[in-house]
Symmetry: C2
Subunit: 327 residues, 2 copies
């Protein structure tokens, strides 16, 4: 059995707990939290909830720690700190800072003789993996990534910071015509505005100036100004009834050419349709935790990404089963 | 530079030659053939065409031999024989015989101290890879593979053996309603007939009994009897004009559930749309040849599949480039 600890128990941590239950070779041994352990009700019976201050007393008792904190402030500190003492895996998703995070985690994991995986999920993660495979197979081609239809938590948070906004759920939506053109192998050059639209469901505070809120949203630099954005005001009841889930998904498409003169079009698409973004990310983390455990037991230390794991190491099946059933 | 030799120069071998040209870290060093070398016109200038009888004189001069023979009779002999003397890679695609082929190649490669990859292409190959990743991530789920719209060479050949048939091109076509049901996450149970239809373009010999040909096709056991099959007679000119390509493709879809009570549906789809089946298979072989070369240089020997190669080993990019550009 692979012994797992979860650090942080929000949507992602709970998703990891659920995913472990689906994998018979894994066992949840402890959940670590910065909150008061008594205040936390986890789903798995008889598993201890432990305060983060005591985590070092668990050294040697866990195969992999799955870190479920946020990328803005938690993981840049937590992953290197914990990689000195445990094998760890995180879902760090600030693309621009990945090289720097990798270097910090690598140094810590090397120093402690442990193995760490960073940026595991679907983007970064499975989408990255598909960009790599597709580019290796079709060197003469072009990549497209479309996100959605799904809830962007960063954009929802940005709207919630506008004065007068009580709540917001922001959906990112790929433009169907852009998707069709890319899928046809046309290799179009697309602007930001041509690829995605944004749709905001907003609950306004009583007496708030809705026109001012809408204006503040659609002109917000980086987040909305470069997109066609629609703002719809709804009630708190409608928000709770229709928008409590965190669906997401998207497509990575590479369209390229083969043949002596590039005469054949070839298109590879990888598409996710997810009812629950955090639960799916959690499921990817758990499969990769298996790889961490196996690679560490073969003597590997330092930092890795999903690019470094042989696919077979993610699977519960033996090599014989893989050859006979899946190849 | 990775030095490549091609064994066999049909559609697949020529596709490999074209793919090598797209990869600046690779060099085609020789094409080996059982035909008279003088009779072969290859595309790359100044590359020798060598008779198979002389292949052993090339030991030590090539990093990887890419074997482009057929799975029925060529590869079961060739791959183990050549794996004693070279690093090799093949596209062996008789699914039921993969474990047996793997064992034979593994023994030969171990004995010779070489590394071999078998069953590399898109199915087996990329489709297998996606079945593995998707099943590891969504253990509670169901797999579906749809092939087409594309030309099945095995089915086309079977029709050509019917008396009175001068030529045939058989297209395998997924049933749109079945694809829609699977994509929606419904997890239906589908019969063979519900998943695919078959469409045969047939050129009849002069004076042939077309009704008898049609009857022979639609009732043919294994190949057509379990499918809804349409037969359309066309002229040799129409065949040459409209059906000279070898397009193919398909989708691997896994639909599963996550959450404590399986409350969230999650769907993963991997889809290929290929103008040229052999050229695409060739492109996968060439990317994996890079992995063979790298893994061998790290001391690995024996037989492997695409399941055993870390994705990074397929890419021309360095680890730093992968982290900064693709993760």
């Amino acid at each position: 059995m692979i012994k797992i600890g979860i650090v942080g128990y929000g949507n992602l941590g709970r998703g990891v707990e659920c995913a472990i239950r689906q994998n018979p070779d894994m066992e949840l041994c402890a959940v670590f939290t910065r909150r008061s352990p008594d205040s936390l009700n986890i789903l798995t019976p008889d598993v201890p909830v432990v305060h983060m201050d005591e985590i070092l007393s668990w050294q040697g008792k866990l195969d992999v720690l799955i870190l479920c904190g946020g990328s803005a402030t938690d993981l840049p500190q937590q992953t290197p700190t914990l990689a000195k003492h445990f094998n760890v895996i995180d879902s760090f998703d600030t693309h621009a800072k990945i090289p720097q995070h990798f270097a910090a985690v690598d140094a810590a994991a090397q120093a402690g003789g442990h193995l760490a995986f960073i940026s595991v999920g679907w983007d970064p993660g499975l989408f990255s993996l598909n960009r790599l495979y597709a580019a290796a197979i079709l060197p003469q081609g072009k990549d497209y990534t479309f996100w959605g239809r799904g809830v962007s938590q960063g954009h929802s948070d940005a709207v919630r910071r506008i004065p007068g906004v009580a709540d917001c759920r922001q959906y990112t939506i790929p433009v169907p015509e852009a998707l069709d053109r890319v899928r046809s192998g046309e290799n179009p050059t697309l602007t930001t505005r041509e690829k995605h639209t944004r749709y905001c469901y907003v609950v306004a505070e009583e007496g708030a100036d809705k026109a001012a809120i809408e204006q503040a949203i659609v002109t917000m630099p980086n987040y909305f100004a470069d997109y066609d954005t629609t703002v719809e005001f709804i009630t708190a009841e409608e928000m709770a009834r229709d928008h409590s889930g965190l669906p997401h998904g998207g497509s990575v498409i590479r369209s390229g050419v083969t043949g002596w003169n590039g005469e054949s079009k070839q298109t590879i698409e990888y598409k996710l349709t997810l009812d629950s973004n955090p639960q799916f990310t959690a499921s990817v983390l758990v499969a990769c935790a298996r790889a961490v455990s196996r690679m560490y037991s073969r003597g590997e230390t330092g930092c890795r990404s999903i690019f470094d794991a042989a696919p077979a190491d993610l699977s519960i099946l033996t090599r014989e089963q893989l050859l006979a059933q899946l190849l």
